[in-house]
Each structure stands twice: as structure tokens, then as C-alpha cells.
Symmetry: C2
Amino acid sequence: MQAQPDVDDLKVIAFDVFGTVVDWHGGIAAEVERLLPGVDGGAFALAWRAGYQPAMRGVMERIAAGEGGFTLLDELHLSILENVLRDLGVTRLDAAHKRELNRAWHRLPAWPDAVAGLARLKSKYIVCTLSNGNIGLLTEMAKHAGLPWDCVLSAEVFKAYKPDPRTYLGVAGVFDIAPRQVMLAAAHHDDLAAARACGLRTAYIERPNEFGAAQPKDVSPQAGNELHVADIGVLADRLGC
Amino acid sequence: MQAQPDVDDLKVIAFDVFGTVVDWHGGIAAEVERLLPGVDGGAFALAWRAGYQPAMRGVMERIAAGEGGFTLLDELHLSILENVLRDLGVTRLDAAHKRELNRAWHRLPAWPDAVAGLARLKSKYIVCTLSNGNIGLLTEMAKHAGLPWDCVLSAEVFKAYKPDPRTYLGVAGVFDIAPRQVMLAAAHHDDLAAARACGLRTAYIERPNEFGAAQPKDVSPQAGNELHVADIGVLADRLGC
């Protein structure tokens, strides 16, 4: 059994969302199979998500070069979707159906432990999102999945994307507290490392099936995280909620 | 009985907060009397709130002149508090107690109809704040009073204060909908008029005791509001929730 962490002054737990709180792979696969019968939903989901990092890098480079403004994740998802459809030779979706499919990201299902775990944490801490998703997307997702956030914080609030320090430090700024009083909870070590570099506490959440049960993810611990837990229920246990 | 409003395409109800959802007069008066025994809490609350409009005008003028940045309402409240204490000759509060008193705005009580009314509206619409209060203030207030917002929108998100059109149109932008699909609910006709000028629907909420029971406010209807209701419960009735 791990020791109880020293978290006396902790006030806010900010959650990464895609993969950490909701199952994007399962949710997108199901919606693709609903809207595009005959298409392999799991492979489609992986291709769509694989387009995210390069697209986000492109946006950040354009902003850094003074050539572009802040872009909502909904817009980014739609442009990646166009590429995926083209690469797969799928031509049967009109603009309205593409838009409908793009909103599948607003309807992703929560991991089974998320709603109850967040409700427990909320009894003691402020629980919020910290995602590159846009506010509308995250709000509709929360309403659909029943995620009980105290507030929705996003790249859109800070006009900067993770892993930009303005996002992690922005959470502390919103609540007028020290970075150490914020914990980032995420299923991604790079996100957590960037938060830790800003002085936040970090909790790794194992999500071995983030990319589907067919290709389990390595969820080994890495040094530096205050906590490493199987799911959000265990996080609530460890924080005494 | 008023006719049922035509609101088929309504998606979001955005609420003004101070006076509309929470009782700033009663809340501040009680906290002043707790922290400053012997001081007239009601008069103190009125003086503090009376400083808001001139202070906010000053901020907006400095921003327009390129001389100042966005200022959080918490900071504005603290500077007004200094003035009120000086005007009343109250010298017994140190910096920590001033800060504690300033956070009384984070702990304001909801009007008795607010929590249940919002929960009913939330079953059918997205319900959010649209306030010049900062995100941290509004989030802590919601947690304290049990206000079940789907998300917290604020001047801090749009980097503009009401009645700037960027705030009202910003709500529509966040949810990628037309201005007519957003309704502003507020106890202040000037706020509603500014929202209507941007194409939003509007609902006036009567709060005759906003300034205390001793000086009831005129809550007469004004032309142009889609709805005029006694409280948030009646708003839910009228919208069929």
C-alpha cells in the first residue's frame, strides 16, 4: 500500500479530459459505425486521433510565427476528419453529416469510474477540466456524460494550448492560489511532466484501453508523479474523499 | 396568464449573477456584521456595491485608452472596500481580514428559488453564468451555494465586460449557435437591453429586495423582454421545464 500523500494545502484538481475522463476511442468508434456502417470504427478513431498532434503543432507554429489566431478544437477536429475521410476513400457524407460526426467528440462516454469518482473529489476539492478542447465541446460532453465539474477550464480560456505553461499556471491564477495547490490528473506522462515543471502536483491515471482493448497502452509509473492510480475512484480513495 | 413564449430553438440560458441569482445585499450585510460588529451591514453593502459602477467605468476607460489591462472583479472589490472603510472611518481591519471580507462575494447566498429553478432549467437547456465576476469567484460561489451551472462564463473568458457586445455574442460563439438561441436572464433592464441589441432573447427576473427589504426596487416590466417573471422557478414553469 502506498503512503498517504502530503496534500494538506491542495485546493483544485484539474483533469485532462480526452482519454483520462472519457473514452474517445470507444465513443468515436461507436459513432462512426452508427453513421458509416461497414467502416471499421476502431481504426477510424485511431486515424482521427492520430491527426491531432500534427494539427495542433501546426496551429502552435502558426501562432508563434504571428500568422494565425487561436483555433477551437472543434474546427481542428473537422479539418482532420476531412483528411481521414479522404484517406479512407469515404465520400458518402455531406457537410451536415460531417458536422454531426464531428460532434461525436461532444458525446464521448465517461470511463465507468469517472462520474462517481469526480463527485467524491468534488466534496473536498474544486474539480475542473484542463483540456485543449473548447468550452462548448467540454460543456456539452459534461452534460451528456453527467460529469459534475465545478467549472470548465480550457485552452480557450487561456488562449494557449497545453503544454504551454500559461494553461497550468492559469488554473492557479483563476483561483488565486499557488501552483502547488493545484493537481493535474491525466493519463499522459508528457502532460503531467509539463504541469510539474510549472510547480503543480500531478496524478497519473492508468487508462490501459485508451487506444482500444486490442492495443493496450503501457501504463508503467514514471518518477515525479505524486500519485499513480488505476482510476478516478482510487484517486478519491488516496485523497481521503 | 401570459402566453407560452416561442422558444423552440432556444439552447442556452445565461444568467446575470449578482442580484439575479444571489442576494449580494443580504450576504454582504451578514458578513460585515460578523467581521465588524457594530457596523451597519446593510448600509455597508450598499456603499460597497455603489462603488462598483464608477470603478468598472474607470477600468473600461483605461482599457479603451490603452492604459490598462483586464482587471478581475476581486481586485476591483478590494479597492472599493478600501474606500468604503476609509469613508466610514473603520481602521480595525488588517490586510488579511480585508481579504477575508472581500471573499464574502464568493460566499453570497442564493435567492431561495435559484438552486431548484436552475436544476429544472438544466434538464432542458444549457445553463451558465454571464457575469462580470471572475471565474474563481463565480466557481467558489456556485460550490458554496449549490448552483448547478453547466459552465461558468464570465467577462474573464471574453476579456470584455458587460455590456460589451463581445460578452453576449461570446456566449453564442462558445456554443456555435445563433444569438437568438441564447436567452439572458437578469434582474437589470440595462443588461437585458444590451443583450437584446445583440440579438439574444431576454427574461427579466423580479428581485424587489435586491437592495434590501427596506428599499424595495421598482420591478415594473419594460417592453422588449420575451419574459418577465417573479423568480427562476417561474422562469422554469414558463419554459416548460
